[in-house]
């Protein structure tokens, strides 16, 4: 019987997020890597929060002290991850653009080689070499202008704050530059090109949220859930007639979904500098965490469960409303 309870709670808590992970995120390997990054950063935040809790003994038993700082750490790391993400991915061409450019490049190259062949018979070797070099440089310019223009067309909503950093990673070698250096730079760039291709921002923020949410679920609820396999069962102190594992499972499911929504909303807020969205994220996070204080003994778990479910539904609706209003969904490339 406890096995049944275990699997029931497991599926209640994790099946929405896992389904989202496998049906949406697992299709794209880049998104998988992003979700791993999201989980790692969430883990760092919770570790810092726990260290903060550990080094200040007098406040250890005060929930009103624990909750704000842990939430602050989580949101701080979300912002750090956003900065990292935008440093890595803004102003990068997407994968389809890369392929397009690749074909374009091959075509141009072929044409250029044909021309060279004609020139070859007329020009002596040395001049020919220089000519080729010049042509390739011109071609670089074409290419860069092409990529930048296509990016700027598609990412009008994207806030290009980090142009210097991304341009440094995508440095074009000058003609005067030493051959070896330029070669190594382009070599690395070519290798990282597909790795750092710009993913769809909405999907990638959802992937980050899924990673952090799933980690949240396993860390916060995993150890509780594993105890469900033991003999006997446990009832919630707040609601003596309800199973503790079931209450926790429902809460975990809601908070995992909230993590996904919060990640999408916060990333969009940071990107478009609409900070009221970020404020909404902070507010829901605080409210939900403080509502779970009602799970303590001598209070009522209905008071925490029902509002949290409502908040989850509302923030999901708000997420879709925001995405539709800003055309982020219809712009999937």
């Amino acid at each position: 019987m406890t096995q049944v309870l275990f699997f029931g709670c497991l599926f209640v808590a994790f099946s929405p997020a896992i389904a989202f992970f496998f049906f949406v995120i697992a299709r794209n390997s880049q998104l998988i890597l992003l979700s791993i990054g999201g989980s790692f950063f969430w883990l760092l935040s919770i570790l810092l929060a726990s260290i903060w809790w550990y080094i200040i003994p007098p406040m250890r038993s005060s929930y009103w002290f624990i909750i704000p700082f842990s939430i602050a750490f989580q949101e701080l790391f979300r912002y750090i991850f956003y900065r990292l993400y935008s440093w890595g991915f803004n102003n990068r061409p997407s994968l389809s653009q890369i392929q397009q450019l690749h074909q374009e490049q091959l075509r141009l190259q072929f044409i250029r080689d044909q021309q060279e062949k004609d020139n070859n018979q007329k020009l002596p070797k040395d001049e020919n070499k220089e000519l080729r070099h010049e042509q390739s440089l011109e071609y670089e310019k074409d290419n860069s202008s092409l990529s930048s223009s296509s990016i700027s067309n598609q990412s009008s909503s994207v806030n290009n704050t980090d142009q210097s950093s991304s341009s440094s990673s995508k440095k074009k070698p000058d003609g005067d530059e030493d051959k070896d250096i330029s070669e190594s730079v382009t070599d690395i760039n070519a290798r990282l090109e597909t790795l750092s291709a710009r993913p769809n921002h909405t999907l990638s923020s959802a992937a980050i949220g899924t990673g952090s949410g799933l980690t949240y679920g396993f860390v916060m609820f995993g150890s509780i859930l594993w105890d469900a396999t033991g003999p006997g069962t446990l009832f919630s102190p707040a609601c003596p007639s309800t199973n503790l594992f079931m209450v926790s499972a429902i809460l975990t499911m809601c908070i995992i979904l909230l993590h996904i929504c919060n990640s999408v909303l916060a990333f969009q807020g940071y990107r478009s500098k609409q900070y009221h969205i970020v404020a909404f994220v902070l507010l829901t996070h605080f409210i939900v965490s403080y509502l779970t204080l009602l799970n303590q003994p001598e209070r009522n778990c209905v008071g925490s469960l029902v509002p949290i479910i409502f908040i989850t539904i509302i923030s999901i609706i708000y997420t879709f409303y925001n995405l539709l209003r800003s055309d982020s969904i219809t712009k999937i490339d």
Binding site: S50, Q103, D113, H133, T186, A190, I224
Partner: protein, 553 residues
Amino acid sequence: MNSPNITSRNNNDPIDNNNNNNNNNNSNNNNNNNNIKNHYNVNNISNIESDKIKNSFPDDDESYDGEYENNMTSSSGSIPTDNNNNSSNSNNNNSLFNIFLDEKNKKSEEDEDSDFESEFGKHEYELETPELVDYSESIVNILIPVCITMLICILLIRTITMNEQTVQASPLIHNDINDAEPSDSQTLVFNPIINSIIFLAVIILSTFIMVVLYKFKFMKALYGWLIGTSILLLGVFGGYLFILILIYCNVPLDYITFVVVIWNFSAGGMVCIYYYAPRLFHRAYLISIAVLMALFLTRLPEWTTWAILALVSIYDIFAVLCPGGPLKQLIDTAKKRGEEIPALIYNASVYIGMANLESNDSNQSSPISPTTITNTVSTPTKSQFNQQQNEVSQPSPLPNESSSCSTLNEMLEDDDDHDENQMNKTISSSPSSSDISDTNTDHSIQISPDLTTSISSNNLSTKKPSNIKLGLGDFVFYSVLVGRAALNDMITVCTCFIAVITGLFLTLFLLALLKRALPALPMSIGLGILFYFITKVILTPYLLFIGSTQVFI
């Protein structure tokens, strides 16, 4: 890249194992193409075109093949006997040196053979229809088996080992799990150190023996050793685990059936790992070896486990990166000979297939560089062809092979470049050397299918340029870390799991940057150990305090 020509030739030589591998490679390759096609429009055209070109050079290809195969059998067969080996090795050294020469010299030669160019420029262009493959995809392809191994380990330890503590029915091995806490502080400090030094000595000894065997070409002894140890591992540990599962499930079984099952399991494993098998079975057996080894190592006392993990990951840095390190020696030797290192290595490249991650064009700073071919062949026509191809694909920098010294050996060298990052792992003890071999540009487009297939008959990895290889030892030690965490708590398991995965991802990312063999253990194990102790000391009480009243933050 198959051509009917090749397959028929292979079928004529059923005796040769290498050719069997060859067929396998080809089929894999087709699968790869299909897979890639789903994501991108990849290279049917290149196949067709390569066939075209091949048809245009029928004579050259055949003569080339004959020559090449002679060389292959002499230099890189499983049991080389010829005197030619020495000469070929020396040539390999030279050519290896040449490869890393500046490409400026090559430029001057690039404009020869304009006749060829005019004839085949069109084909060239068609050959290079884009083959862009995510590097992230190859990273994920190596992360997935690691995750599977660790998950199996966690589940087995959480169910069987925990159960075993209460049942106490294991007849074979003394259960050390609960002995980990000696009261004496001196034994607490010194026992783990001594144990781990002994363990490391075994690892170094076995690696040394392996390198010696490989360097002096005792290939039969080497393979005998590898097969013997892996059959013992599968049989003994697999049998023990099978008994534990039977006890856990409370199923009676007679010894005859038991012996038959275990024998079939381990003998089948030998066939799958060392001979020829569907890809799924091959990988399943590699994973099962890793899981069994990790389950065994998890039974060591706790502090011994940590000491072993730390020492082994430090040793891993030395063995892979240091010039005199044994694994580096092994890799270099294999590079010289153009062979795949005979060891247990998980090769994730098969899914990825034709990826060409690095393209060397110096002039084109544009992110996407066309794939290039750098192989050169001894036959003059071939080298001309290559030169011409180089010209088309790379305007300025010509690979050195176009230079006059191009020989068959250079081709071997190119293959070796692929292998450069391979790590080696001896089965029983092997420290983890991670081999992650980064991709090679060169083979992305094969001029003549015959050429590439003949190479790949020798070396599994040549066909797939973007292959990431991870030694099985890395799998084992990751699983040991996570399994040790699984003896504690689910929170610890979760944090260690994520730490290991993140460390592996960072390593692979560095691999893309540095393009050389890297040790996979230090970063993952370091992060894992750090997270383990932080979790155990600080995070678990924190979460227990919060969770005791069901407060969610």
